[in-house]
């Protein structure tokens, strides 16, 4: 879209490869971070020897002061440890090899690395004369505990959910998949946020094409900060479609299932979500609970979700089209009843439906943004009190309330929130098309939608797989979940290296 393109006169600032190029030194570090009050630096004598001077630096709050004192400062200043040491290089060697009780000690010779480490939960011992620093991981233990998923509630499945701490998320995944072939490739993304991003896959199972593509896309990300899911999603799946291109989940079990299917995953520090790629439309209509149910029940529920999807998108549109253009399609008793109910309504059918759809969206937004207790009140007042009063006051007809409510409720059955949001837009567009030209408009919109969905690709995999796309199609696999023993093969369209998933 032209309006989102870069302006011609805007200047592109390439990402600097190295931001701090001067040699490592206390003064230079103070110059970089000293303007901030949470930066702390303290001169120390290694082994209590005034000749062996170093500077201990850290960013308060990012590191644990207790850990710094216990695991770095105390052992580094004890004279008995460094009794035989007379020069700094030997002292650095000793510290690097166990002289200090910290398992994660890194030798840094570039100021960039030191600054990154300091901001990532390390403290640093800066040796001015040597132009090097040793950094120690002393990350603070303040983090949110593993809680239940809030968006994707589980009935019979696992109840743990990802949180904002990257390492907690990787550990949750490792607990699910104790496979030595599970690989987590970490990168740092964001010019200013320097967020850790981990690409997750199983070597020998995930198609290397996917991992190569994702690796390249992550490397190409040049953004200030990765602070929201959209920041990363739009880069790793660069498509302007309203339909989600990645499966976003807060559930480690769903993430693990995706990895086992042959997808490649992405975990980002600071985001309580995992991303799975490539994504296909049928995946958004499945929930992990399907695997905990009898195959027949799971299949019926999947079919119900498809039906709900269609009802959610088309019900208001079909109502507008049929009442305004093709009333002969409606059963006569229903038609007479609708006519009766609309006699005193002051708005046209289209205005009524479109208005109610907008009101429904507003109510939804209002109840989402408010605290939970107030949100419930808004839902009750909006849905019941205002709705009922509007019908009683004959401002809107009861049929429209039913239609819009049904469309909304069926939209909630779609398990993925991004997909549900995309469907909300489709619903509105379909209603507008119905207003313009009745069922012809709805049909035209459907064809356009289908065309768009069929032309979408994610990592070279058709979005509509296995309903449409290249290769051997198994449409029934999208609708029916086979019994576990019969589903011996992974999804072939994901081109896994290891096709079988059981004996």
């Amino acid at each position: 879209m032209g309006i989102f393109k870069k302006r011609k006169n805007s200047q592109w600032h390439p990402r600097p490869k190295e931001r701090f190029t001067e040699p490592i030194g206390r003064d230079y570090l103070k110059q970089i971070l000293g303007g901030s009050d949470d930066f702390t630096e303290k001169g120390i004598y290694i082994g209590g020897d005034p000749k062996l001077r170093a500077t201990l630096c850290y960013v308060d709050g990012v590191v644990s002061s207790e850990s710094v004192a216990r695991d770095v400062l105390r052992p580094a200043t004890q004279p008995e440890r460094f009794a035989d040491i007379s020069d700094l290089p030997t002292a650095v060697e000793l510290i690097l090899h166990g002289g200090v009780f910290n398992f994660n000690v890194l030798l840094r010779r570039r100021m960039d690395d030191v600054v990154n480490d300091l901001l990532s939960g390390f403290c640093a011992l800066v040796f001015d004369g040597l132009e090097l620093a040793l950094t120690f991981e002393t990350r603070t233990g303040d983090k949110r505990s593993v809680e239940q998923p809030t968006m994707e509630r589980s009935v019979k499945g696992a109840r743990d959910a990802f949180n904002e701490t990257y390492r907690v998320n990787t550990s949750l995944l490792r607990r699910k998949l104790r496979d030595p072939a599970l690989r987590i490739e970490e990168r740092s993304v964001g010019r200013r946020s320097r967020s850790r991003v981990g690409m997750v896959y199983i070597e020998g199972l995930t198609n290397p094409e996917f991992t190569a593509q994702l690796r390249k896309r992550i490397e190409d990300i040049d953004i200030d900060a990765v602070l929201s899911t959209g920041n990363i999603e739009e880069y790793v799946a660069p498509c302007r479609s309203i339909f989600p291109q990645t499966i976003m989940t807060e559930r480690p079990d769903k993430f693990a299932i995706g990895i086992l299917e042959g997808r490649v995953g992405l975990l980002v520090d600071g985001l309580p979500m995992g991303f799975l790629m490539p994504a296909n439309l049928p995946d958004f209509l499945r929930v992990p609970e399907d695997n905990s149910m009898h195959w027949l029940m799971a299949s019926v529920l999947t079919l119900l979700r498809y039906a709900a999807l269609l009802i959610s998108v088309y019900l208001p549109a079909v109502y507008v089209a049929v009442t305004m253009y093709q009333p002969q399609m409606m059963p006569v008793k229903l038609l007479l009843s609708i006519i009766e109910s609309r006699q005193t309504v002051p708005f046209s059918t289209a205005a009524e439906v479109l208005g109610m759809l907008v009101v429904f969206e507003l109510l939804q937004e209002a109840s989402l943004r408010l605290p939970q207790s107030v949100g419930n009140t808004v839902s009750i007042i909006g849905g019941l009190v205002v709705g009922q009063s509007a019908v009683e006051a004959k401002v809107i007809s009861p049929v429209v309330v039913i239609i819009v409510a049904l469309a909304g409720i069926t939209g909630f059955t779609v398990p993925n929130q991004d997909m549900a949001s995309a469907l909300r837009l489709c619903r509105l567009a379909a209603a507008l098309l119905a207003l313009v030209s009745g069922l012809y408009g709805v049909l035209f919109g459907s064809v356009l939608l289908l065309w768009r969905l069929c032309s979408l690709e994610c990592f070279g995999v058709a979005y509509m797989q296995p309903l449409a796309g290249e290769g051997t199609l198994r449409p029934w696999r999208a609708l029916v979940k086979p019994p576990v023993k019969d589903g011996k093969e992974r999804k072939t369209f994901l081109k896994p290296m290891d096709v079988r998933n059981q004996k």
């Binding site: 002969q328 009766e340 609309r342 030209s437």
Partner: protein, 383 residues
């Protein structure tokens, strides 16, 4: 994106979004849904009478208009109200007055066939001894209205196989194929003994109207119409009442009926048509003291029932001969049955052929709980 925009513009230009769509758009509350339409013919002009539908027992609007053609008369009806749009897409019943049917029923069906306003599956009725206007206006005076009466009739006549209600499409098709058909005849009736709030007038089925070459040529009474239903294989169920000669009756509920036609050929023509009818039923009520476990009694019941049926069939055939109208679609039936003798069938006037009627009635049984009235009476008599 450019391609999508181009596709949208193309569709807007070529499709229903060219502005025509808005013209077709109407608010649903402005619709007056017509459920029953009547047509009469007088002095070279058609008079249309339309009754609207109502939800939950509301007022029924009755409109009339007059013109040389039905289409024009329908358009004139739109002047009834500036706010309302008269909508004929849900017309369920089409009543044709006797005069209009005698003049030309095909002409009355012409608009339904060619126009897009009305459906082909609209039920067709001929009003016997009156006009459609009187029937519609009379039955819509109070209560449920003519539409509800006719929709109720549709179900009722099927239960007793009194008649078979054909729709406009069916009638037009039969007239085009055979030139003859039988259409349900109705008339206005008046009853003083009706519950409070209900209309005193209504419509009732009074047999069938026989149409030949697109015109009304005669009538079949209710009993003969029942025979037509059986002979055209539209039998659903029936209840036969049999007197036992001692002042009491028994009822046999006929649940299955099937008619088959066979032809015996001689040279270039059909020599004889054999009509074989099989009926099955159960004794549903028994007042007479007959022993239904006695096979001779059952055989006697079956014989009487068969005789009654034969009498009814003979009446139908005589009517067909008298009017020289093949409303039973015998010729088409035989053409389908004997495709190799198509020429012989075509060359025969089937109504005038010798006919052999063979009716088989099978009374399959009955249910007894405790002592039947018949047995009770026998015991009392013995005492």
């Amino acid at each position: 994106m450019k391609r999508i925009l181009f596709a949208i513009l193309l569709c807007v230009a070529l499709g229903g979004c060219s502005g025509k769509g808005y013209e077709d758009m109407r608010e649903i509350e402005s619709f007056e849904i017509i459920r029953t339409l009547g047509v009469d013919y007088e002095d070279g002009m058609y008079t249309l009478t339309a009754a609207s539908g109502s939800a939950g027992g509301g007022e029924v609007a009755v409109l009339t208009s007059r013109s040389v053609t039905i289409a024009r008369a329908l358009q004139k009806m739109q002047n009834y109200s500036t706010k309302k749009y008269i909508f004929f897409g849900h017309t369920a019943n089409y009543l044709v007055g006797e005069a209009a049917a005698e003049h030309d029923l095909s002409a009355c069906l012409e608009y339904v066939e060619r126009g897009f306003d009305m459906r082909l599956d609209t039920n067709l009725f001929i009003v016997r001894g009156g006009t459609a206007k009187d029937a519609i206006a009379g039955a819509s005076e109070k209560g449920e209205g003519v539409t509800e009466h006719l929709l109720a009739l549709e179900k009722d006549v099927q239960i007793l196989s009194e008649n078979h209600i054909v729709d406009c499409g069916e009638a037009a098709e039969e007239l085009a194929a055979d030139g003859c058909t039988a259409i349900t005849a109705v008339s206005l009736w008046e009853n003083e003994n009706v519950p409070l709030g209900e209309g005193k007038k209504g419509v009732q089925v009074v047999g069938s109207a026989i149409i030949k070459d697109g015109r009304l040529v005669g009538w079949a009474d209710v009993d003969t119409a029942r025979g037509i239903t059986l002979l055209t294989n539209r039998f659903v169920s029936d209840a036969a009442e049999l007197p036992d000669g001692r002042g009491s009756y028994m009822a046999v509920e006929m649940s299955e009926g099937e008619t088959e036609y066979f032809a015996r050929f001689s040279g270039d023509r059909i020599e004889k048509i054999i009509i074989r009818i099989k009926l099955q039923g159960n004794i549903s009520e028994m007042e007479s003291p007959a022993d239904i476990y006695d096979e001779r009694v059952i055989s006697e019941i079956e014989r009487v029932l068969a005789e009654n049926e034969v009498e009814r069939i003979v009446n139908v055939i005589e009517l067909s001969r008298r009017l020289d109208a093949d409303f039973l679609e015998l010729k088409r039936e035989l053409e389908l049955k004997y495709p190799r003798q198509l020429r012989q069938v075509a060359g025969t006037d089937v109504e005038d052929c010798e006919m052999e009627i063979n009716v088989e009635v099978e009374v399959k049984g009955s249910y007894e709980l405790g002592v039947s009235p018949a047995e009770r009476r026998t015991r009392e008599h013995d005492r």
